[in-house]
Symmetry: C2
């Protein structure tokens, strides 16, 4: 038996739950090659006694490893590290929840009417955001700082307290381990994307993106001199065989992906693919910009950890944002990368924008430290899960014959494929039914689109899906 | 006599004072060539009766025109538009104020100790800033907006209310006339500078700057592909003969200046030179980036109007900021330019940073509309004027034999020339005397530097100038 007690070290002072510390350690050993594929794992009782832990904790860890696709149970034989690291299956449609009145669980402000019928392509519900808490904290922060130098704004890489607290937060929530030297605070994720490409690219450098991609990222790449190399998106994210081909042939400098839920189709990149991608990045010397814009919104168990958590060679530039947690108008994002990348990006940022907003950054740091963000996210995730379930149920019931979709296990949107309906027609007909579809219409995929469910309350979902179904039927009967 | 009544139209609904409306109109006519150099102006009584105004108002307007260098009195003959548009003389040292206790006029927070002795190179006193008012307004703005779409931040060029109110503010305070379509709200002036050069420059394009220049502007120029072409700075700003030479010879695409008080030497560009520069820009097809970072701080009469106020061909990209009025950490700046320039810059800004801070922008718009900013500025200007006077008096008395300087008529800093003292030595020796000089040491001018007076209260000025004089004497006796 492997020396499990020395492989898996538990630190009870860490905020990250013990069962996740176990699964982190096992994943890290697999990555290092010290735990081989096909290895039979000790039974949960044995492991628990070896590690001096409750058996329940070990079972939780094993569950996590199986859910993420690292381990499997072979009936009558036991639990094994998978031979081929498997695909992560999207959860199938099922266990649809009863409609509960949201007013029972949430405060009445959620029911505030918007005055118009809108389905967007996946934004948070700003009515839920703790924006007043943030501004209240900001005021008290600024009062406490009168006479101190923070208002002069000398912290060009972001407020030290936010960089420190964020470093803890990233470690606890997604096993990305580093120090404040690995973190640059930016204006939302957009600035982080721009800075990353601006320091990486010279004119004509090639950047791999999905055939369908986040258009603001495409623009940042082109604006900083890059050339887009488009790769098909499969149900497992970007097609890595094509990526390898392109990398062999050309001068690929970087790649932009959103592996947690690929934008816009929401597919998740399986663990196996993530490891292969890291190998490709090293072999062909390119950087991967991992935009993890909606990591915090996951509705089943813990999501697959980001590539940045298993990156050992500084190939990943990890980008996140609080704009999706708070509101789009609070523009605080961040980059996690090697210190040399952070330094280069920080220096360019000083030229573009000097510095961020020290008061808001301090306020956010306080809210992170007090677990205010955490508490808010827990509430929001429950709310959004309910909304996802209702939205998917209504779509399924109302447009059964016409659409297919996979219920997403996270994020704020569903990717819906239509059989006969052209999306442009749908948008126009919906408008006649007083429903505004604030969605992108894609050139290459005119029969699929992205519907957001998070920004509508349950009543709005009922009203808006009714209108959507009417509009769809109207298009069909044309 | 000219048809003065039709030339000078007074609009009593405008916020800009009537006497300034008169001087604006006269200047505009001179620019258009409809009022000729050497023209004898009607006497103030005649003009007052023609315009149906109080004579005092006309006298104020004439005073303004003379102070700005457009008009002159020829004894026994009358008042004339100047033949050669004259230099603007720096006010000579004189009328030094008595030291008043600031505590008498200002609230006690101004006296809050800083805990260290610092002379910087010209920043505002953040202890005076109405930062709490701004955050209070921001909170009430955000509360009023729950359920409204502003939090989604769709106003990519800046909040409409701020662009509108700023448009009025620019017209009232500096005769820059335009609509919100001419305005882009940015993160402080730095982003405006970056955007302007990013859209104007291709790799290798030449940009004229002062031999000594604001280093963040130099960096923005280089980072966007530009090549610096350095031109000597005379007591009248950049040497325009050299500018013309360079423009004839090379491929000058743009020029960066701070004509109100050239950074760092604080010299003011006279009206005559401004007009010539506009002509050169047209003739040789280049843009002038006019960074007017400290326009609002002037201590005598109204300052010379910005180049943007007399620009008829969209050659000027005018840049301003509220960070010097509030605190460096509130990063709200703006660009005023032709609509096509604004559009290009706004589109790039969306790629870099999506949008600004709609809540803060709304709060600032409210403060502009309520004249809160105006009231604050009046108080701040009085305070800074007192500080300037004391600082200059102490320097003069303590280092009479060693230094020369011109007392600045605005801004937050004095440019001081030393006879024998090397600035690097001074910085090091001051540190021994527990005085930190947060100033730049210039390669080409190691016997001159820029001292800020605005961020110290009167007591601090006394203490810090004592320390500075001691340090200077210590260097001299080495």
């Amino acid at each position: 038996m492997l020396p499990w007690k020395s492989i898996i070290t538990i630190n009870r002072k860490e905020i990250r739950p013990v069962y996740l510390q176990i699964s982190d350690a096992v994943i890290a050993e697999i990555m290092k090659g010290r735990i081989q594929k096909g290895l039979k794992m000790p039974g949960s009782r044995t492991m628990a006694s070896t590690l001096c832990l409750n058996r329940k904790t070990v079972l939780q860890a094993y569950d996590e490893l199986m859910a993420q696709g690292w381990m499997e149970i072979v009936p009558m034989k036991g639990t094994f590290i998978k031979q081929s690291l498997p695909e992560v299956k999207q959860q199938s449609l099922g266990d649809v929840l009863e409609i509960k009145s949201e007013a029972q669980t949430n405060s009445s402000k959620y029911d505030m009417p918007r005055g118009e019928h809108v389905i967007d392509d996946g934004t948070p519900d700003y009515r839920l955001a703790p924006i007043d808490d943030l501004l209240k904290t900001a005021r008290s922060v600024s009062k406490g700082l009168v006479g101190k130098s923070v208002l002069l704004g000398n912290h060009f890489f972001g407020e030290a307290s936010l960089r420190n607290n964020l470093s803890d937060y990233l470690s606890t929530t997604r096993a990305i381990n580093g120090t404040k030297g690995n973190i640059l605070i930016t204006r939302g994720s957009q600035m982080a994307i721009y800075l990353a490409f601006a320091i990486l690219l010279s004119k004509g450098d090639e950047v791999i993106v999905g055939q369908l991609n986040y258009h603001s990222a495409d623009k940042a790449i082109k604006s900083t001199g890059g050339t887009l190399v488009k790769v098909p998106v499969t149900p497992e994210g970007l097609d890595l065989n094509v990526v390898e081909e392109k990398a062999k042939a050309g001068k690929i400098k970087a790649m932009y992906i959103t592996p947690h839920h690929q934008y816009p189709t929401t597919v998740t990149m399986p663990v196996e693919n993530r490891m292969r991608l890291l190998e490709l990045a090293e072999k062909f010397d390119f950087y991967v910009i991992e935009d993890d814009y909606d990591y915090d919104y996951h509705y089943n168990r813990s999501p697959i950890l980001p590539l940045a958590s298993i990156d050992r060679n500084g190939r990943i530039i990890y980008i996140g944002s609080f704009s999706k947690i708070l509101v789009p108008s609070i523009r605080i994002g961040y980059m996690f990368a090697s210190e040399s990348i952070i330094k280069k990006c920080g220096e360019l940022r000083m030229i573009i924008d000097k510095l961020g907003d020290p008061i808001m950054e301090r306020a956010l740091a306080e809210m992170l430290a007090n677990n205010d963000i955490d508490r808010f996210l827990k509430k929001a995730v429950n709310t959004y899960k309910e909304r996802r379930d209702l939205f998917c149920k209504r779509l399924e019931e109302g447009l059964k014959e016409e659409i297919t979709f996979t219920k997403p296990n996270g994020g704020m949107a569903v990717w819906v494929n239509f059989k006969n309906i052209n999306i442009q027609d749908l948008v126009e007909t919906a408008q006649i039914h007083k429903l505004t579809l604030k969605i992108d219409v894609y050139e290459h995929t005119n029969k699929a689109c992205r519907f957001g469910f998070a920004s509508m309350n349950l009543k709005e979902i009922e009203t808006n899906t009714d209108l959507l179904i009417k509009a769809a039927n109207a298009v069909l009967s044309q």
